[in-house]
Every structure is written in structure tokens, then in C-alpha cells.
Symmetry: C3
Subunit: 155 residues, 3 copies
């Protein structure tokens, strides 16, 4: 029987697992940041979420959008748009047999760029900080996709 | 040559495949629920989608937002934000060689919590029902991520 | 030690890697299309993104929504909602040992349908063009999920 631990014994796969774990946890943290801003800014979207503030008009005024909440949500959506391709293409890349040092370089730059991107979005830093960090992560994923398609190509 | 059926012979991986299949199908169902509410509430967003209702002003009035449609869409986005990390981290977790019973416990609780979350969002149930089911799924993913990082750690 | 290149030697897995790479790159292109429309339509959402247009009121007028930008963003979100299940279920499907020709049929139809869907959304084509291409991709993912659950079922 196949042992499920085979892949996890491979160093490139272990590096992939480590960086994917970190960057997915970072993405999940966006939910907590959203919740934090929703509660501190008292800005909710579902009527049932404001029930503890009283009934009728007194609760209804908390059904509103807040610039800080919307900013975190945009950061979260940008994470989904960029981290999903990294996780999918990165897995195929890790299985395509790259050098460990090359793989680590890709994973480190991507995860570093996405962590910087989050700070650039939430603080916010002046452009082009956020734009450049986005482009760096995007380019890393393209570079991995190039190797995947070159190695695996079967149309 | 490697046989692609190796992994699928592993029991933990089979459990992962089963629960991931179920929870991704559940997420896909949100598209059908959205379509159902868009059609029954006559609330569309693309002008070309209302062409069958006539031309000009008679069709334009169906380009509007509807509370029920928006509620389903929020549930769908919440699924994306939470099920994507589960699928990614869960795969690595399944490959990290956990006990079958421990793995099944994680998968069952996560999928159960997400199905409950969907009903809590759509009915809607009073809080903290939805909030708690979200937190349960979130915690399961964190627990799996902890094992993945502990097993695979290579930075 | 397990060789990470084992899976990539399998033809079905190579086909999966190729089509997943293509469809994820297609999804990533939506970010560039969004950026293109934001810049040409001068429609931004973050105040820091309009700083290069001057200060105060002169920059503030570019903080607005634009129908073309919103259309691309809806197409991007629809991609996330549909391509994420394809990538997750497709991986499990590829590991479930299907015939190469059957697998290729699934992958080709899905990726073709999603590329058509993007054009149908952005041009836009009259309905039911976009709706049908969505339904075709959706059905392919369901078909793969059926095989995954039948092969792996362990609840």
C-alpha cells in the first residue's frame, strides 16, 4: 500500500508545505482583522449580527459600510485572487522536481511579497509599494507556472 | 512508472478526498442558490441577463440588488475564504501521516460546521449560531495547519 | 526517499498539471484586465492609488466605480467560484486513476468552457452564451466529483 508520508519526506515538498501553510494562515487572519474592524467600527452587514445592540432603529444604524472594513475585505479578496493560484501552481511546481534552492527562492519571495502586500494595504503605504509587492508575487507564480507547463505539457 | 492510484489507496487520503469532494460540491451549490434567488426575485446585475424581460426601461428595473441575493453571495464568499484554506492545508495534512481516526475527526467536524454555517446564514439563524460554526471550522483548519508545519517545517 | 517526480511521470497527472496551469494563468490575467480598465477609465477604489493625479478634490473624483471595471471583477469572482472547485476536485480525480482519454475530455471541455465564459462576460455576448458556458464547466466538475466520491468514498 502506498504510504501517505512519501511526499512529505521530499524536501521540496516539505518547503512547499511550510510556505503554503504560512501564507494560507496569513490569508485566514484577514477574517479576524475584518471581524475586529466590524466590531470596533460597529459596521455590520447582516441584521442578525446587530441584534445584541438592541432592536429596531437603534440596531439598524450599525448596518453600514465602513472604509476600514472595506479595505480589509479588499485585501482579503486580493489574497484569494493571488494565493489560490500560488497554492495550485506551487503544488504542481513542487512535484515537477525543481532544485531545492530554486524552489525555496520562489516560495520565500512569494510569501514575503504577500506579507508585505498586506501591511501595504492595511496601513496603507503610499503607492507603488502595494502595487510592486503584488507584481512580485504575481511574477513568482508565473515563473512556477512556466516550469510546470514546460515539464508536464500534455495537451 | 508511478501509478496515480497510489495515493487513493491510502485511507487518510481517501477520507480527505471524500470530505473535500463533499464540501466543494456544497460550495458549488451556492451558485445555484444565487441563480434561484436572482430569477425568483428578478434581481440581476448584467444588462444582457435581463434582455428576455423586454427592452429599455422595462428591463432596466430588474438591474438591482436584492437582500436575499446578497445574503447568498456573502455566504458563497465566506465559503471561498474558509474552504480554500481547508482544501490546501487539508491536502498537506492528509500527506503528513496522521492517524485515520484523528484525520476523520478533523474532516467531519469541518464539513459539518460548514454545512451548519450555510443553513445559519441562509435561514438566517440568530447569532451566535453562524459565528460559532465559522469559528469551529476555522479552528479545525488551524489544528491541521499546526500539524503540517510541525511535520514539514523547512523554511 | 520518495521522488517528487513520480506523479509528474503519470500521464493523467501531466494533463491535469497542464490544464490547471492554463486555467489558473487565465484567472490571473483577470487582475491585469482589471488594472487596465481601472487605469484607462480612471476608476479607483483606494485613495492612495489616485495620489499621482494630484491632491484633494482633483484626485477624489477618480474614486468611483466604473461599469467595465465592475464587469471584469464579476468575471474574476466567477472564475474563483468555479476554478477553485475544478483545481481541488480535478487533483483528486487525476489521482483516482481515470483513463487518459476520459480525463483529457474533462479537462479540455472545462478549460474551453471557462475561456469562452471569459469572452462572453467581457465582450459581452448575448445570453444564454455566458450561462451555457458556465453550466458546461460546472457539469464537468460535477462529473469528476462523482468519480472521486465513487472511488475514494470513506466517510
Amino acid at each position: 500500500m502506498a504510504k501517505s508520508t512519501q511526499l512529505i519526506d521530499n524536501e521540496v515538498f516539505r518547503a512547499y508545505a511550510t510556505y503554503t501553510g504560512i501564507v494560507l494562515l496569513k490569508m485566514m487572519l484577514m477574517s479576524l482583522v475584518t471581524a475586529y474592524f466590524r466590531i470596533t467600527r460597529k459596521a455590520f452587514v447582516n441584521p442578525e449580527d446587530t441584534a445584541s445592540f438592541g432592536k429596531g432603529e437603534s440596531a439598524k444604524k450599525f448596518l453600514r459600510t465602513d472604509p476600514d472594513v472595506e479595505r480589509v475585505r479588499r485585501g482579503h479578496l486580493n489574497d484569494l485572487e493571488n494565493i489560490v493560484p500560488f497554492v495550485g501552481i506551487g503544488l504542481l511546481y513542487a512535484l515537477s522536481g525543481p532544485e531545492l534552492s530554486t524552489a525555496l527562492l520562489h516560495f520565500r519571495i512569494f510569501v514575503g511579497a504577500r506579507i508585505f502586500h498586506t501591511f501595504a494595504y492595511l496601513i496603507p503605504l503610499p503607492q507603488p509599494g502595494r502595487g510592486l509587492s503584488w507584481a512580485v508575487g504575481y511574477s513568482v507564480t508565473f515563473s512556477m507556472a512556466y516550469r510546470v507547463l514546460k515539464t508536464a505539457w500534455l495537451l
